[in-house]
């Protein structure tokens, strides 16, 4: 009976996996675009547009100013709010990462030849990012991550978005109908 004891829960788990695999992707506020309605402009990282404000909110000078001038209560409140901003920024970072990841998969799906090494690397990068993201989010929430370090990430996304916009415009000019047909299938 031992094998049966393993087989029954495993079968139930497999049915759940099947349900998850066949479930159409649901969009929720803050999530990236779904493959069904993926268009060039929605794939590109978008959150970098708010980075100047994020930078300002996270700047070390601001923090110093608050510590020197504001009452401890106000400074604590401000620090909490700054951490909330940092968390929101992290969420945006995740969304932009997902967009890029999806764009890479879309390009792979529509390519006549793809590289096993690069696909495997991307899969690992995606899993690694999610782990790191969870870890950073936890540290931010517990107040153990320095905010000025988060600021460095804004620069990374800004330059990335500009490059990707150029690249995607080039792909769009090449075969936009192909992309849409493929991903709306």
């Amino acid at each position: 009976m031992s094998e049966l004891m393993i087989a029954i829960p495993l079968a139930l788990a497999l049915f759940l996996v099947l349900f998850w695999l066949l479930r159409p992707r649901r969009r929720h506020p803050g999530a990236g675009p779904s493959p069904a309605d993926m268009k060039m402009e929605s794939i590109l990282p978008r959150h970098y547009r708010y980075f100047p404000q994020v930078r300002q909110a996270l700047s070390a000078l601001d923090e110093q100013y608050l510590r020197e001038r504001a009452s401890p209560k106000v400074a604590r409140k401000a620090l909490r709010e700054r951490r909330a901003v940092a968390r929101k920024f992290l969420a945006g970072l995740r969304e932009d990462f997902s967009c890029l990841e999806r764009m890479a998969r879309m390009i792979a799906a529509l390519s006549p030849v793809i590289s096993r090494e690069e696909e495997t690397e991307r899969l690992i990068l995606g899993m690694r990012f999610r782990l790191l993201y969870a870890w950073v989010w936890l540290r931010l929430s517990t107040g153990r991550a320095p905010l000025d370090q988060i600021e460095h990430l804004t620069g990374l996304l800004g330059s990335l978005a500009t490059r990707m916009e150029r690249a995607m415009t080039a792909i769009g000019a090449l075969s936009a109908p192909g992309l849409n047909t493929g991903l709306n299938a």
């Binding site: 890479a104 799906a109 793809i114 790191l132 299938a185």
Partner: protein, 271 residues
């Protein structure tokens, strides 16, 4: 055959005939020829084995041997139908298909190798051999179907409704059959040395297995019939693929960027 066995037999045969009619009326052979052959084989086998039952008797050793032989043929045909489904679903995306088919074939070889090794060590009874191989085939089919669906989900590719329903039908049958085969095989192997003393218990377990096995099959065939009740939609056009150099230029650049994201997060954690 008891009344229950007759009911199960004729409901299976009836549904298989309906499936065959639907398959040919909808001209499924144009899109999924192996699945069409599989559906035809199922109906032919079910009707054919009735001749053996009639001639030799339902519980005769000849009928049992014929049953296991037909089961073997059906299992192999089901494997080919699953391979065809995977190919049909992924071949339009040439790059992915080139990468995926090797992985899927490797998985199939590993699982089938496991089935052979597993069956090799079993006590010398055709039922135990049959159940072991059928169970391992079921596991292999389930895993391959899930991997195919996983690849499609990962790359954000949709699944046509008919193909989705065929996959669900196959999945349901394979999973339920694997569990029921495991149950009966466990029982057979535990009672192998005292078989004659527990004949009635083994008989009851076999009847239960028969009900589960046939019911799962009836559910699967019903799912396929339901999917084929309406005329098939026009097949979707194959996607227009990008020029070869686009992937070469962008993929590594994108990976580089994704890696940079990870590096920065890691730096943040180390700071």
């Amino acid at each position: 055959m008891s009344h229950r066995e007759l009911l199960l037999y004729w409901s299976t045969a009836g549904l298989e005939i309906i499936l065959c009619i639907f398959v040919y009326v909808r001209k499924l052979q144009r899109y999924l020829p192996i699945f069409t052959a599989y559906a035809t084989l199922l109906a032919t086998d079910t009707l054919g084995i009735q001749i053996v039952y009639h001639h030799f008797g339902f519980r005769s050793p000849e009928s049992r041997s014929a049953y296991w032989m037909i089961t073997g043929v059906n299992v192999v045909a089901c494997g080919f139908a699953i391979a065809e489904l995977c190919r049909h679903e992924l071949r339009a995306y040439r790059g992915i298909w080139k990468l995926a088919w090797r992985g899927l074939a490797l998985l199939a070889v590993i699982f089938l190798g496991n089935a052979v090794v597993d069956a090799w060590g079993q006590p010398n009874r055709i039922a135990i051999y049959g159940l072991t191989i059928e169970r391992d085939f079921g596991v292999a089919s389930t895993v391959i179907l899930l991997v195919m669906l996983l690849i499609r989900k990962y790359y954000g590719l949709g699944l046509e409704s008919l193909q989705k329903t065929i996959a669900i039908g196959m999945f349901v049958f394979c999973v339920v059959d694997t569990v029921s085969n495991t149950m009966l095989r466990d029982l057979f192997t535990s009672y192998i040395f005292v078989w004659s003393e527990h004949e009635s218990q083994i008989g009851r377990a076999r009847d239960l297995w028969n009900v589960i096995h046939t019911s799962a099959f009836v559910i699967s065939v019903s799912i396929w019939c339901f999917a084929l009740r309406k005329p098939l939609p026009a097949p979707e056009r194959d996607p227009v693929l990008l020029p070869l150099e686009v992937y070469g230029e962008l993929s590594s650049a994108l990976n580089l960027r994704l890696r940079a994201f990870n590096d920065r997060l890691l730096e943040l954690l180390r700071s």
